[in-house]
């Protein structure tokens, strides 16, 4: 027993592992909560797009010596507003328009990256760099997580209503497209923090996988959010340990742990359904 305890706690004797643990728990839980909306409103593709379009923002910030998180945030918010605007104005189907824009932005990011001398710092953007999180970044992430949670709690009943019946919401005077834009901006904030943990390529997994798993075990949005946050945070903890002991990429380990939890829940769901029949 004490050996297991030793195995679980030893890595966190290091300051960088403590920071990494705090950051990944916080971010995975936040992603899990807002991810419930991403899954239920079928916005998975948008989440992915928001993560990818952060890349040019980060690269431009890096070239000019600005804050990388600031660059990612600016790009994310511009994308969020752009998607909202396109959904209203364009004749293109929304997913098509997003597909066109986000691949172009990502390509622009890679193009700018390839002109730089140093690839090392920016590969952290692509694949995450949770082990390099500094204390001050931790404060920023906590702030972002707090803002996201507070807004989601304050506007819960309206966000919930517009997610399944925007017609009724409109009739009683709620502007559902404004709420959608607000959700997209919160998503951009969340995604930017998610990039720190698993990188732009895998961030949508943190949004979608825990929430998808949670949607299988509960029938109430608030409970789904709680379960999703627990799955996300638990996977972050396990993934961090695995990456420490087996010397593998932290982001990938966290994402695959999420996927394993999802797989287990799907399996048990399948078994219980068979038994009922």
């Amino acid at each position: 027993m004490s050996e297991l305890w030793q195995w679980l706690t030893a890595p966190f004797a290091y300051q960088f592992m403590q920071n990494a643990l705090l950051a990944s728990l916080l971010i995975a839980a936040t992603c899990g909560i807002i991810g419930s909306y991403v899954v239920l409103r079928r916005m998975a593709f948008i989440g992915d797009a928001l993560a990818h379009t952060a890349l040019p923002g980060v690269v431009i910030a890096y070239m000019n010596g600005w804050s990388l998180v600031g660059g990612a945030l600016a790009a994310g918010i511009m994308t969020a507003l752009g998607i909202g605007w396109m959904a209203r104005k364009s004749n293109l189907r929304e997913d098509t328009a997003i597909g066109v824009i986000f691949t172009a932005m990502f390509a622009l990011g890679i193009l700018l990256m390839s002109r730089l001398q140093s690839f090392r710092d920016l590969s952290h953007i692509l694949f995450g760099n949770i082990l390099g999180v500094q204390s001050q970044e931790l404060w920023l992430m906590s702030g972002v997580a707090l803002v996201v949670l507070v807004v989601l709690i304050l506007f819960h009943k309206e966000l919930e209503l517009t997610s399944f019946d925007s017609t009724h919401a409109e009739v009683i005077g709620i502007q559902s497209n404004h709420l959608r834009t607000m959700l997209l901006i919160l998503l951009a904030f969340t995604v930017v923090t998610g990039i720190q943990v698993v990188g732009v390529v895998l961030t949508s997994a943190l949004l979608v996988t825990p929430a998808a798993a949670a949607s299988l075990v509960t029938s109430d949005l608030r409970r789904m959010m709680a379960v999703s946050a627990v799955i996300g945070a638990g996977s972050a903890f396990v993934g961090l340990l695995l990456s420490y002991y087996f010397a593998v990429s932290t982001g990938a380990a966290i994402v695959l742990t999420c996927t394993a939890v999802f797989g287990i829940i799907v399996f048990f769901n399948w078994i219980t359904r068979r038994r009922i029949r």
């Binding site: 009943k157 399944f164 709620i174 029938s219």
Partner: protein, 251 residues
């Protein structure tokens, strides 16, 4: 302190005004397809039950959506209890065709019906004891008490329609707009909906119901409006309505 969803929420209705006054209303979706709705004059007094009949594409849903403030119109004027559309959100309840709602969303029937109270609560306010009591009573009245804590995805078509009606009742709306409430519902639900509309009428409420079902129009409604290709072609008291007239409309 109430933070209303819309700044114009609490405009008082004009005493004695009709529920609906329409003048020279035109709604055009696509210029090449002509008018979706073209209505020179239509008045619906308060406190009556009106059936809206006509073939598919006649403009029944468009008319209801216009009254609910969901459908922008090109020209003309629409007044609800003497005020412009959308000046009094709490006074109008719209029951869409059931397909417009995502019934797979994880929410209980109780919470779904609570959605009718939101217009009175506004931003940042959660339901109070009064709202809870009203929802429970209404669920009981509509025979949904036993499924109150089930997911809306577990409901049958008739139960879904009753849940929609329950939401409109807890909204305490004065004008109820129902789009095809009798489609794919069991006979008990149909009867219950008509009984409730009758009770609401005795409370002075107004109902406008788009329907395909012409079997009991003269018993269940006071007024019949026939639409064809976006225009009101007949407008009569239900007692004078004859089955054959409507059948001609459909041909």
């Amino acid at each position: 302190m109430i933070f209303h969803y819309s700044g114009r929420h609490h405009v008082d209705s004009i005493p004695g005004a009709d529920a609906v006054n329409i003048r020279n209303l035109r709604v055009v979706y696509d210029a090449s397809q002509g008018d979706a709705l073209n209505c020179t004059a239509l008045d619906i007094p308060a406190g009556i039950r009106t059936a809206l009949i006509g073939p598919n594409g006649a403009g029944k849903s468009t008319l209801l959506k216009t009254l609910a403030g969901l459908q922008p119109y090109n020209t003309g004027s629409v007044a609800i209890y003497g005020r412009p559309v959308r000046a009094c959100h709490h006074r109008v309840a719209y029951l869409p065709q059931r397909g417009e709602i995502d019934w797979r969303f994880p929410i209980t029937v109780r919470r779904f019906v609570m959605g009718g109270r939101y217009v009175h609560l506004g931003w940042l306010t959660n339901p109070q004891a009064y709202d809870d009591t009203l929802v429970v009573q209404t669920l009981q009245r509509l025979g949904l008490g036993s499924v109150a804590d089930r997911r809306i995805s577990d409901l049958s078509g008739g139960q879904q329609q009753r849940a929609l009606l329950a939401r409109a009742i807890v909204q305490e709306a004065e004008l109820l707009l129902l789009d095809e409430p009798f489609n794919n519902v069991d006979p008990e639900t149909r009867l219950l909906i008509c009984t409730i509309l009758d009770e609401l009428q005795q409370l002075g409420r107004t109902a406008i119901v788009a329907t395909h079902d012409l079997s009991r129009l003269s018993q269940e409604f006071d007024f019949i409006i026939s639409l064809h290709a976006g225009a009101v072609i007949k407008h009569q008291v239900a007692e004078l309505y004859q089955q054959t007239a409507a059948e001609q409309t459909y041909e």
